[in-house]
Amino acid sequence: MADSYMGKFLLVDLTNETSRTVPTPQWLKDQFVGGKGFGAKLLYDLVPKGVDALSPENVLMFFPGPLTATAAPSMRACAVTKSPLTGTYLDSFFGGRLGPEIKYAGYDGIIIFGKAPKPVYLWINDDQVEIRPAGTIWGTNALEANALIKEEINEPDAMLAAIGQAGENQALFALICCEYNRQAGRGGAGAVMGSKNLKAVAIKGSRLVKVHDPEAFDKACKGACEEIALSAECATYTDGGTSSAVPWSNEIGTLPYKNYYTQSDPQADKIGDEGQKKHLFLGKAACFGCPIRCSQMGAVRTGKYSHFITDIVEYESAALLGSNLDIHDPRAVAHLTKLCDEYGLDSMSAGGVIGFAFEAAERGVIQAPDGVVLAFGNVQGAEYLIKSMAFQEDDLGRLLSQGVKRASAVLGKQTMDYAMHVKGLECPAWGPRGTPGMGLAYMTADRGGCHQRGFMIGYDMGDEYNGEPVEMYQTKGRAGILIELQNFLAGTDALVKCDFSQCGVSPESFAAMLSAATGRQVDEDYFDLLGERIWNQTRMFNVREGFLAKDDTLPRRFVKQVLPDGPHKGHRVSEADMDYMRRDYYNIRGWDEEGRPENVTLQRLGLDKAPVFKERP
């Protein structure tokens, strides 16, 4: 009977330049479904404790989900590896058309082992898998590499995952460019790719993806599309992507300004939807199979940075390379974001690192090179740092390319007061002083400082939860809400859903689509338990790596320094707040006081006796 899986994984051994396929285990599909679920389980099984993330022993994996490549709206895929930036489990999600192509080539996942003796790229055309010398393509930026490889394989329709110079040079927050304008951005998956001497993965496939019950599936997809069409939140994304979050975040006092010194920026509107509509946007583009079309494609046509094509500057990039650096020309922020994309640096971490460097320079801790000004508001200074981090041009670039945690450790204890990271991952652009639930989300996210594993801001600002208004500034009850969000999102990240379509598509529709696609009948509660299993599996990885309660914490600035102004003036997330929320969280999760899942929890989730994936190339 048809189901929407392709039935096999592709295992690639770069060290010996070989590959083979293995069947996708039934137990893995039953217990972990796909996407993040596969990644959580296989990283635990394939990467032993203590492996250097940049060594050949780490694996780099790409997983679509059971609904990816079908007409189910807005499905994505993920890259999973051990993060060189944090040392934790890492997944990084990307939309576009690369994820579906993995399935069209016939695979439920691509698992890359080892390290090529010389720079190579991988060309997967259905069953034909070639490891080709990268030659002079090594050294090019992500978009140049994309064009050169398509030309070399003579396949304009192939889809590419590629790294830029930052990935080649193993800058620890290097990304994987999943063309175009879609990035496996956070946590340094691009550095892992660079450490393997792997410039790109090109992929094209002619296989059909079939579903178990086409009629029921069509009905379920139409229902999901209708929900998206009726969703006010999805309509906001259609209108202006995430750019309208800039003025909103400023209004509610969560927008980082000058390396999070405060959380409100008097000039925020210039880089939000208003400014971007005026200076950048021309038309809309969609990821594969997505009716929302949140991409606002455009170009910088005027000013000193013209001319180049740019996607929308998403909220996180706008806030972290804009407000956070006191830069307010949307064309300049688009320019900095594009540089990050081309060289292959995570624009979020880049914004965090540059903010840290600007503050350190203003405090006299670091010295700007001759002719360079490192100060808030200085676009050239930011541009200089992006280049020097990507190309490892000087000691400062090399130091900062390791992220704020390592840079701060080298520069001295006093810089820890403004090194804005959790577990080494630079913070997202939602300052949590005033929104403690969001703080707890950062403390407990599996890959370090991340806003996408449970977005608490709305509840922190007084939205209703289960029909009850949530009280602002309270720590009580936050853990319970967050855990429900984390579980549901982790469960649907096994599909792999998009965070934006998820605002419209109901759990019932996700369940109906999955049931019709696979023939496994599930209901709307299914994703909660699945997500809880996945969340505990990633926690098992992190605990094995030594991450415990001491690491589930916030950067010192959020804890020690009260906000000097804005709607939450006088607020912070104190040690006592963190302590209370952490205990509450562990308690509800069924984890011990150090954050280790209790045996009874693992038993309940079937993680105590789960089979082990033993296949190697």
Binding site: A69, T70, A71, R97, P100, Y104, L143, D157, Y180, N181, K204, G205, S206, R207, L208, V209, K210, P214, D218, C225, A229, L282, G283, K284, A285, A286, C287, F288, G289, C290, P291, R293, S295, M297, G298, A299, I309, D311
Partner: protein
């Protein structure tokens, strides 16, 4: 006077989402793959532009003109050019001479496949969320009507 129906493309509204191609491949082959659909989207300039290409349902149809088996003829209702799979010999001559490569032999079916407007209610048009595809017709004067292979 007769009406030839065809799908009009509005590239300015196309977002490149491929929902049209998913609907098409599912109807044609019972599975999803945009590369196997009967319409194409060309993504240009880092996704700044998306050009959908569909069968023109030509008045002077080279695909039908060159078919040695006379397997391509007009649907009496829509005047769309449709392939008679019983007659098709899979020679792929139609693809060789179609200027926009909108017809050709499917690797699984071993027969030539092309857009038949789904009998008058195209699945791609129904799936398009933006109006980038719409069903249109042109009026063909009787005297200009020529039978393919005539």
């Amino acid at each position: 006077m007769a009406k030839t129906f065809f799908i009009k493309t509005n590239f300015d509204l196309c977002t490149g989402c491929s929902l049209c191609q998913l609907a098409c491949s599912q109807r044609l082959l019972g599975g999803y793959n945009p590369h196997r659909a009967l319409l194409r989207i060309t993504h240009k300039a880092e996704n700044l532009y998306h050009f959908p290409t569909v069968c023109n349902q030509c008045e002077n149809a080279y695909c039908a003109n060159v078919c040695p088996a006379k397997a391509i003829s007009r649907d009496p209702e829509t005047r769309a050019l449709v392939v008679d799979r019983d007659k098709c010999i899979g020679c792929n001559m139609c693809r060789k001479y179609c200027p926009i490569e909108m017809v050709g032999v499917d690797p699984d079916l071993k027969k030539s496949v092309k857009c038949d407007l789904c009998g008058g209610d195209p699945a791609c048009v129904a799936a398009c969320p933006t109006g980038a595809l719409e069903l249109a017709y042109r009026v063909v004067p009787d005297e200009e009507e020529e039978e393919p292979n005539g």
